[in-house]
């Protein structure tokens, strides 16, 4: 019945007859191949007729669709496909018009088979590279319809999957067709991306279901090809791989929206999976754009549930790892700033129990433990990003974070009141934990430049020593920074190993910058260790950390002088345990003794001076026999064994400074120095800090004198003022001046850079702070107030006001500035 009206047949144009002839009597028989060849040959030899052939075929096809003659529809489409493939030439353009109309026609149908047929033809067409661009072709309908097909909810699962896969392939086709051709519809426009991306994700999302349904592993390979999720993933990867710099944003935005709308941040597995796909697919130089967008999304969600924020942060963390070096991009500090801001926000939410302390109280209930998890997430993410940074940027970030730690100094007004204190404490903890993350695995070969005073001073600030948890984090940070050969693990527990060879320590010779670093900062470190030991709230973890820090300094940063000082420091710690001026518990005192024993055991073996080793081992053996509670093996247990007998320790159970200086002096160590007891250098900051009040400082000085008094002479011989000590004093004061200069520079810088409000606020706070300090000092009426300008004057002011004339005073070497 097709086109065979005999009488008019001869009058019909040749191309129409050729077209008619490809259709069989019975559509079941399929395209008549030989006639199709004739049609193709004709089309090739007369390309100007191609568009008419197309139009005529289309017309027939339309009619067949309307009359439900699907067999003929298929034949017409096959013919269109073949012509399309055969005719790569200029005139294809018009032909394509009718071709696409036919595809659209099929796609309009409700019949799944026709939809799939149309899609298949479209995909074939998409893979053809056309010679001439087409200006007015719109793919709007195709994108809309293919996206719709991706969401098919056909009752029959098999048909549903087929339609969905057709939709995905269709979208892939549109992308391939248009992506490289700027004249055509810009596929990256939001109007298209907002359809394509969610449609792919929707299918990707159901991979779990699809997987759980596949019955046996043998069938999976077959099944996988039939799986919309697999296909969607491939299509998404291809799409993202083609995205140029300017298109990333439009492609990622719908991903974020989709995850929002479908609440997919919370179990976060899918979100992480999506962003893994994204990070692995996009061109690596664009990865920082994705990170930025995620950060922006975090900002946009700053009042969303903690679980949502935690999901975003988790994704950020994973993305950072993938993007490695390129992830942070040009705005390093901005990135960390955003993360820190969210950390602070979360702490506020946690404390106030509301997203807005002013309004809406109680409208959204903040779950404290969720905020905590979010905070941990941020900290982990900070670590992930930091690990991608080169050394110089890492120390820049550490400085940046440190600068955000609230400290009761001139620069940071503290929030007053109980909640303010609590808030500050939480912020300190979280920021220091972040800092710890950044420090982990940070191997700076130049400590001097990586850790400037502007970083170390606040880190070692006494304000960060009062709280047990904070104190521990600070110690861990120091250990991480110093431990560049990953020896720390070997000293995670405190012990007196008879032979340290078993530890297989990795040690490099102390480099020149390291030596300089110690010249500049060793006293600060020693003081920090010493004062940390004297904290009543110490638990085992603290002693382990202090031990770790001592060991790390010994392994990483020690030259002869440092070794001497460390031994003096440890002996002073022993003294602290004996004299017990701060009423340490018996446990703490045992712990300090045990710590000293463990450290001296290690350092004596590192010095390899036999007589030194012998003395230490003798004492240890003696303790093993008579006082095991003074050894780490007894004290640092889950159930520590310690004894009240620590109040009266026999001399033969102690490490003797005189003995140590004698044996080491014999091996060329500076015995003068060794025999001088270590006394911590206190800064005015120490004196002004809450607990180490001026009163205590004074008593400490009195103690210095009494220690040098005749009764204790045998353990702490008075020091002669030698040329050496004077020189040392001068050198030290130069170092202090340097620190001071650095501090001034920072102040100036701060005032140059900070916005006016900040300076104004800061000055106000500074005035009140100064006022309170003055009051404190006047109350004590011991001496005139220290000038706020700095360390040196304050220190001198202090010594001048002592009743002893300066020239008569016996200066313990390191006490003098």
């Amino acid at each position: 019945m097709y086109g065979v009206c005999g009488c008019c047949g001869a009058l019909r144009p040749r191309y129409k007859r050729l077209v008619d002839n490809i259709f069989p009597e019975d559509s079941e028989d399929g395209l008549i191949k030989s006639n199709m060849e004739k049609l193709t040959f004709y089309a090739l030899s007369a390309p100007e007729k191609l568009d008419r052939i197309g139009a005529y075929l289309s017309e027939k096809l339309s009619r067949d669709v309307a009359r439900h003659r699907y067999g003929y529809v298929c034949i017409a489409m096959e013919a269109l496909d073949q012509l399309l493939m055969a005719c790569h030439c200029q005139s294809i353009n018009l032909f394509v018009e009718s071709f696409l109309k036919m595809v659209a026609k099929l796609l309009e149908s409700e019949k799944p088979n026709l939809q799939i047929l149309g899609t298949n033809s479209f995909v074939k067409f998409a893979n053809i590279e056309e010679d001439t661009p087409s200006y007015h072709r719109s793919y709007d309908f195709f994108v809309s319809r293919f996206s719709e097909m991706c969401h098919s909810s056909h009752d029959d699962i098999e048909i549903r999957n087929k339609i969905r896969m057709a939709g995905i392939k269709g979208l892939q086709g549109v992308v391939r067709k248009t992506v490289n051709d700027e004249l055509q519809a810009n596929i990256w426009d939001p109007q298209h991306m907002d359809k394509i991306v969610p449609s792919l994700l929707y299918n990707l999302q159901h991979i779990e279901e699809a997987e759980s349904r596949s019955p046996s592993p043998l069938q999976t390979t077959e099944k996988e090809r039939e799986n919309p999720a697999e296909l969607a993933e491939r299509c998404l990867r291809e799409l993202l791989g083609r995205a140029a710099y300017g298109n990333i944003k439009n492609a990622i935005k719908p991903v974020l929206m989709h995850l929002d709308n479908h609440s997919l941040w919370e179990p976060k597995i899918f979100a992480v999976r999506c962003f893994k796909i994204i990070m692995f697919s996009i061109q690596p130089q664009h990865s920082h754009l994705v990170i930025q967008q995620l950060l922006g999304h975090l900002d946009a969600n700053s009042r969303s549930a903690a679980t949502v924020r935690a999901g975003i942060v988790e994704v950020l963390s994973e993305a950072a790892v993938i993007a490695a070096t390129g992830s942070v991009g040009p705005t390093v500090l901005e990135l960390f700033n955003t993360l820190l801001r969210h950390l602070r926000l979360s702490i506020d939410y946690e404390l106030t129990g509301s997203y807005d302390s002013a309004i809406n109280i109680g409208t959204k209930i903040i779950k404290e433990h969720e905020e905590r998890m979010f905070q941990e997430g941020i900290i982990k993410t900070i670590g992930s990003f930091a690990r991608t940074l080169p050394t110089y940027q890492r120390s820049e970030v550490m400085l940046f974070i440190m600068g955000k730690v609230p400290l009761p100094s001139l620069h940071h007004p503290m929030d007053p009141g109980k909640t303010g204190e609590n808030r500050n404490r939480l912020i300190q903890i979280m920021l220091l934990k972040s800092l710890l993350q950044v420090s982990m695995g940070f191997q700076c070969n130049n400590m001097l430049t990586a850790l400037p005073s502007s970083f170390l001073d606040p880190l070692l600030s006494p304000a960060l020593m009062e709280d047990g948890e904070i104190r521990l984090i600070v110690l861990e940070i120091l250990i991480c920074l110093i431990d560049r050969h990953l020896n720390r693990r070997k000293f995670s527990s405190i012990s007196t190993v008879p032979d340290i060879a078993v530890l297989k320590l990795k040690v490099d010779k102390c480099s020149r910058p390291d030596t300089l670093f110690m010249k500049k900062h060793s006293q600060q470190l020693y003081r920090h260790i010493y004062l940390s030991c004297n904290e009543l709230s110490n638990v085992q973890a603290h002693y382990e950390a202090i031990y770790g820090l001592l060991v790390m300094i010994s392994i990483e940063l020690a030259n002869e002088e440092v070794v001497v000082d460390l031994i003096r420091l440890v002996l002073a710690i022993q003294d602290m345990a004996i004299s017990n001026e701060d009423n340490l518990s018996a446990y703490s005192r045992c712990a300090l003794h045990a710590l000293c024993a463990a450290y001296l055991n290690l350092i004596c073996q590192l010095t390899t001076v036999p007589a030194f080793c012998q003395h230490i081992h003798e004492v240890i053996e003696m303790r093993q026999k008579d006082a095991p509670y003074l050894l780490p093996e007894d004290v640092f247990l889950e159930k520590p064994r310690w004894s009240k007998s620590v109040e009266q320790v026999e001399v033969n159970l102690l490490f003797l400074q005189s003995k140590v200086s004698e044996v080491l002096g014999g091996s060329g160590y500076n015995s003068d120095r060794l025999s001088t007891p270590y006394v911590p250098q206190l800064t005015d900051e120490d004196r002004l800090s809450k607990r180490k009040s001026i009163g205590e400082t004074i008593s400490l000085q009195v103690e210095v004198e009494s220690r040098n008094s005749p009764e204790k002479e045998e353990r702490a011989p008075a020091e002669e003022i030698t040329f050496e000590t004077l020189k040392k004093a001068i050198v030290d004061s130069v170092a202090v001046e340097e620190q001071e200069r650095e501090r001034r520079r920072q102040v100036v810088e701060k005032f140059q850079k900070a916005p006016f409000e900040e300076i104004a606020a800061h000055c106000g706070a500074r005035a009140t702070l100064l006022q309170s300090k003055l009051n404190q000092i006047f109350e004590l009426t011991i001496r005139p107030p220290p000038s706020p300008s700095g360390t040196i004057t304050a220190a001198f002011g202090q010594s001048q006001n002592h009743s002893i004339p300066v020239y008569e005073m016996k200066f313990p070497d390191l006490c003098v500035y």
Partner: protein, 203 residues
């Protein structure tokens, strides 16, 4: 010879809360049935229906969107190319009416400026459970410059009228635009030169 099998093509998008009966309205109109146990729409659904008005073939491309919140971003992406929006609520569900301003904001944000919006109160067969009075809805529609119609997909009340009136309205808009712009066609797929013609009345 025109390759088109229609004179006008219009894109109509249905929006509104989940469960108000959008899919039922579309299926009543395109397939002439009231589907029992109609499930929630996933993403978007697509239907085509060609109608004849005064001898002209009008092809209506109907995009039926999911009302569920989670599909909001993909459904919004369909507003843009719509010539008309059918904003549907359920007269037995106050909540679906109260959400209308929110929908209007979305329209404002995502649809194009010339879009024609019709407000539809569906399920009038459930008169005894009515929660939103006709007067209240009419007033609201008027204040927002929308046409208003009450329908029952179940009883087939006003469903044909809804789509046919909308088609007429779209045709006359298209003609006016064409005259103003002095171009052949301002609408995609419109396959005819324009001559002035009075169409059926829009409610």
């Amino acid at each position: 010879m025109s390759m088109e099998d229609y004179d006008f093509l219009f894109k109509i998008v249905l929006i509104g809360n989940a469960g108000v009966g959008k899919t039922c309205l579309v299926r009543r109109f395109t397939q002439g049935l009231f589907p029992p146990g109609q499930g929630a729409t996933i993403g978007v659904d697509f239907m085509i229906k060609t109608v004849e008005i005064k001898g002209e073939k009008i092809k209506l491309q109907i995009w039926d969107t999911a009302g569920q919140e989670r599909f909001r971003s993909i459904t919004q992406s369909y507003y843009r190319s719509a010539n008309a929006l059918i904003l549907t609520y359920d007269i037995t569900c106050e909540e679906s009416f109260r959400c209308l301003p929110e929908w209007l904001r979305e329209i404002e944000q995502y649809a194009n400026n010339e879009v024609i919006t019709v407000l539809v109160g569906n399920k009038i067969d459930l008169a005894e459970r009515r929660e939103v009075s006709q007067q209240r809805a009419e007033e609201f529609a008027e204040s927002q410059n929308m046409y208003y119609l009450e329908t029952s997909a179940k009883e087939s009340d006003n469903v044909e009228k809804l789509f046919l009136d909308l088609a007429c309205r779209l045709i006359s808009e298209a003609r006016q635009n064409a005259l103003v712009n002095n171009v052949d066609s301002s609408l995609p797929g419109e396959g005819k030169t324009i001559s002035y013609l009075n169409c059926c009345n829009f409610n």
